[in-house]
């Protein structure tokens, strides 16, 4: 593989030892998790003089951990936004409403290592002096919800959750909340609306959740994988964590690789992996020895990269931004040379039209319109001018709504058309009205 001389930032990844999903049988059971050192970090944090809430947050800041839910916001910084403790309740929400096409890494954690999530939640609760955490899980994950609830009961019975955890004066409850099948509930403010029992319309910001969150009280929302990293940081130190993978976006990451590869699945490796390594070595290459056409690096909302754009690109925020995409949730969709990009984009547009909550005008109407046009093009009835209309509509949607769903719907449309324009043009009939617009493809 040509790599333009760029190096993987993941170091000796071939000998990487997994820490989020370690190869231990039955780790999802409390007995097994404890036998392998589980909850020792929590005990240490709660009982040792070395740790107080402030120093825990400092350690997380030092680790440079960035949120794994898609936006990549520094976790320690987010925690420090919580206002000083007063007599009001405070909440933590753990976001397990993973529903974006191409993203399926949190469910692996919930299935195989739920106790690391619980331990991370409890440490986060301690760090932010939170008494209640809502673990919001996508409703379709019914089986894992069931077994997490079973394990959570064990934790309550053992005194690891609830009143006076491990005999200390720290108390915290975990409530598992089941979603009802809406993608929008993964947006942090609509997640809170959903927990409150309301229709999950995203809220306007400001105020931010740390000021006015659940029921108007200070709240922090973290992704499942983010919190699962926390016990590791506290156990091994922030510096250890910061030394893994890409310097500006460090740590282990669960790569969910899907699409036309030989071995799709969730793989744990450091950040900063070369995309080519992930496709050709980790996932065993393209199915049937075909050529690569496109990679969507972080779930369906991130802009797709053409095969000729990925040389030397590594999986971290900086590298992907320079290339013209995003890290997202590190859910890589790999598309081979036979993929019909028009049809693919139509399917993605359908998803966002179906999942738009309908609160804001540009998203409600725009997502439906995008799907209409793409359907027409896919069915061979499109006109060339439709492509410019699509780009126009993206302009009309982006940045004009309460939450980022409109952006997430517009980006794949905009960048798939810009990067695969010939393919779209080949499917369109000529416009009835000639346009004077420069149609040269650009990236």
């Amino acid at each position: 593989m040509a790599t333009n001389g760029a190096q993987s930032k993941a170091g000796d990844w071939r000998n990487y030892k997994r820490v989020l999903l370690p190869p231990i049988r039955d780790l999802h059971r409390l007995e097994v998790y404890e036998a392998h050192g589980g909850y020792q970090t929590l005990r240490e944090v709660l009982t040792s003089d070395r740790w107080d809430p402030k120093s825990v947050i400092e350690e997380v800041k030092k680790s440079k951990l960035r949120g794994r839910g898609g936006a990549g916001f520094p976790t320690g910084l987010k925690w420090s936004f919580m206002p000083p403790v007063d007599d009001r309740p405070r909440f933590l929400c753990c976001n397990g409403d993973e529903s974006e096409p191409g993203t399926f890494k949190d469910r692996q954690l919930m299935e195989f290592n739920p106790h690391q999530i619980f331990e991370g939640i409890l440490i986060a609760c301690y760090a932010m002096s939170v008494r209640t955490c809502y673990l919001y899980v996508r409703g379709e994950f019914a089986r894992w919800i069931e077994h997490m609830e079973r394990e959570l009961e064990k934790l309550y019975a053992k005194g690891y959750v609830g009143q006076n955890i491990m005999g200390t004066d720290f108390s915290a409850d975990i409530v598992i909340h089941k979603g009802a099948g809406a993608y929008i509930c993964g947006e942090e403010s609509s997640l809170m609306e959903s927990v409150e029992g309301k229709r999950a319309y995203p809220r306007i910001k400001p105020p931010f959740p740390a000021q006015r969150g659940l029921w108007g009280y200070p709240t922090t929302i973290n992704n499942v994988e983010t919190l699962a990293n926390v016990p590791l940081i506290l156990h091994n130190g922030g510096e250890w964590f910061a030394s893994i993978g890409a310097p500006n976006h460090p740590g282990p990451v669960l790569y969910g690789i899907s699409g036309h590869v030989n071995r799709p699945g969730v793989y744990e490796y450091p950040t900063g992996m070369l995309i080519t390594d992930l496709i050709y070595e980790v996932a065993g290459g393209i199915r049937g020895g075909k050529k690569l056409k496109a990679v969507i690096p972080g779930g369906s909302s991130t802009p797709p990269l053409r095969a000729d754009m990925i040389d030397g690109v590594t999986m971290d925020a900086e590298s992907l931004r320079e290339t013209g995409s995003m890290m997202g949730t590190a859910g890589l969709l790999v598309l081979d040379e036979d993929t019909d990009m028009v049809s693919w984009l139509r399917r993605v547009a359908h998803f966002y039209a179906h999942e738009s909550c309908g609160q804001c005008t540009p998203c409600r109407e725009g997502t439906g319109w995008l799907e209409n046009i793409l359907t027409r093009i896919d069915e061979g009835e499109g006109r060339l001018r439709d492509l410019d209309l699509l780009l126009d509509l993206c302009d009309q949607m982006e940045g004009r709504t309460v939450c980022a769903l409109a952006d997430a719907a517009a980006w794949p449309v905009r960048y798939t058309i810009l990067r695969f324009r010939e393919e779209f043009e080949a499917r369109c009939k000529p416009s009835l009205i000639p346009t004077g617009i420069d149609l040269t493809p650009t990236s």
Partner: protein, 576 residues
């Protein structure tokens, strides 16, 4: 004081107002749909976007950076902001569509989105003509449409409740109606269902939208999605005139508009008045207009050979005087009315005084349990407080009945009420004495014993003052014309039209629907004069002026002071 620059003009402000409300208060129009000053701010229609910048602060000096011309350097936010939800801050610079092509484009784009699935059935829509979507689409929207697909279809005729009809296709999902039932009426009877482009408001399963304030959502709806089952398809806004007035269903005196076409009241809608009813009106107030159109009398009548016979107004006055003249004034019972205006009651009181009679009393109409502590009261009359402030007190029923039985009362003069219908007297008890009756409707049960029946102008036909249960004095204006010519009414009706220059010769002029009645302030002086007690005023305005000057409980309550929104009498120094 903090300052904000909007389109290059500097404004001072206090506190932390929201930008959109501040602009609306200062006459700077910004298009918007979901924002309503009485409701929470969801910022979901995305129509009120503006460009917002803040001065760049020099990190070293802590002061705003200045460019070579000494002007502060402004950093504009990368995204447009919804002005409805934006807290104003000192030094903020705002560009609206008037100065920013970016904002104008965003507003145009948004309207294009709003219209793609909107049915555009304006020609048959009740809202057309007063529709914020229609107005703003013409003003700020794009030319034509680039949408070449089937519009989304949704339920078209959903009876949400007994009074409100939903056309979900017209809905633009501003959620004003849902927020109204959540935040104002607290009935929680509406919610949004479905998702994305399919969503629309509806009641939860098994719930009927029977909120006693349900029809407010019709006023709130910025499109024609929610319409009144009672009023829909009856009249177009431009065929009607809207007269600002008050409702008389109860003692609250909620502010309203009376919509008139062909000289009939077609609809009653809410008129904002923070001191009385906010933006709201109970459903019963809105539907209470049939009394102005139906069962109305046709001219004065006098009883001859046991039957009421139609006569001229002069004959009726003469007959009344004939009946009263022979009776000692002290033997006449004058009944005032909590339905009538302060002016009319005052003239009745003056007449009673002149004849040496007792001060008039009024019949209270109290319906226990009807009130809700908000805009509905147990008292079903609009002016009980006005009567009391004039010294006209509730009737002592037992006393007047015994006085009637003992023959102490030898005649009754009734101002705009129904002593038989209300149960004060039986028809038999009044059969043998003269009864002179000012009345509104032919359903008035006292008519069977009335010797002189004088049709009186109702609240929609007269000029006058009502005092609500909180001591708020408010003027009413004529919304429709009566048969006879009265210069004062002619002038007032012209002024109160929405178009400000309506005349009786407008297209909604309809002779058939003119009631041959007169305001009591015109009838009473005629009767008084014939009895030898001149009671001449140039009009109700001058009557009220005299009341304001002579009765301490009305001190200062002139027409000028009352204006369009009335005055709280206690606040202008009137005695309580």
């Amino acid at each position: 004081m903090p300052r904000i620059t909007i389109d290059g003009t500097v404004y001072e402000f206090e506190g932390r107002p929201k930008l959109l409300q501040f602009c609306l208060d200062h006459g700077i129009e910004l298009p918007h749909f979901c924002y309503h000053p009485a409701l929470s701010i969801p910022a979901n229609c995305r129509q009120c976007l503006v460009e917002v910048g803040m001065p760049v602060i020099d990190r070293e000096t802590g002061k705003p950076k200045r460019d070579e011309n000494g002007q502060p350097v402004i950093q504009f936010m990368p995204k447009l902001q919804t002005s409805c939800s934006l807290d104003m801050a000192d030094g903020m610079v705002v560009k609206t569509h008037r100065t920013s092509e970016k904002v104008a484009r965003a507003q145009r784009d948004n309207l294009e989105f709003l219209l793609i699935n909107h049915p555009l059935d304006c020609p048959i829509c009740d809202q057309a003509g007063k529709c914020p979507l229609q107005i703003q689409a013409y003003k700020y929207g794009p030319e034509g449409s680039r949408f070449e697909f089937l519009k989304v279809h949704k339920p078209k005729r959903v009876k949400l409740g007994p009074r409100v009809m939903l056309d979900a296709e017209r809905c633009i999902n501003c959620t004003r109606c849902v927020r109204f039932t959540d935040e104002i009426s607290k009935s929680h009877q509406l919610t949004i269902i479905e998702r994305g482009v399919k969503n629309y408001p509806i009641t939860p399963p098994g719930v009927e939208f029977d909120d006693p304030y349900s029809m407010n959502v019709i006023d709130l709806c910025p499109v024609g999605a929610l319409t009144s089952i009672d009023a829909r398809f009856k009249a177009r806004p431009w065929e009607m005139s809207a007269t600002p007035s008050i409702t008389i269903t109860n003692a609250k005196g909620s502010n309203c508009y009376y919509w008139v076409r062909d000289n009939l009241i077609v609809e009653i809608t809410a008129r904002a008045n923070a001191a009385v009813n906010g933006y709201w009106l109970p459903d019963e107030d809105r539907l209470d207009y049939h009394r102005f159109n139906e069962n109305r009398p046709d001219g004065p009548e006098v009883r001859r050979d046991g039957r009421l016979v139609r006569v001229s107004w002069e004959e009726a006055y003469d007959r009344a005087v004939e009946l009263l003249a022979g009776i000692d004034g002290r033997r006449i019972l004058f009944l005032g009315s909590a339905y009538a205006t302060v002016e009319d009651n005052y003239l009745l009181k003056r007449l009673a005084e002149a004849l040496g009679a007792d001060t008039p009393v009024y019949i209270p109409h109290i319906e226990p349990g009807h009130g809700d502590g908000w805009l509905r009261t147990d008292d079903r009359t609009p002016n009980a407080q006005g009567c009391q402030r004039l010294g006209i007190l509730p009737v002592d029923e037992a006393l007047v009945r015994s006085r009637l039985e003992s023959g102490e009362i030898q005649a009754i003069y009734v101002l705009e009420d129904d002593p038989v219908g209300s149960g004060l007297f039986t028809a038999e008890a009044l059969a043998d004495i003269p009864v002179i009756l000012h009345y509104y409707n032919t359903t008035n049960q006292t008519l069977v014993v009335a010797d002189v029946a004088l049709p009186a102008a109702t609240v929609v036909e007269t000029v006058g003052t009502y005092v609500n249960c909180d001591g708020h004095a408010q003027r009413v204006r004529p919304a429709k014309a009566i048969r006879t010519v009265n210069r004062v009414l002619m002038q007032e009706i012209g002024k109160s039209r929405l178009d400000q220059h309506g005349t009786p010769y407008d297209r909604w002029y309809n002779e058939k629907h003119q009631v041959d009645c007169k305001p009591s302030w015109e009838i009473l002086p005629e009767v008084a004069e014939r009895l030898g007690h001149p009671l001449r005023y140039k009009g109700p305005k001058y009557i009220m002026q005299e009341i304001a000057e002579t009765i301490p409980a009305f001190a200062g309550a002139t027409y000028e002071a009352m204006g369009l929104e009335g005055v709280r009498l206690a606040e202008i120094g009137a005695e309580v």
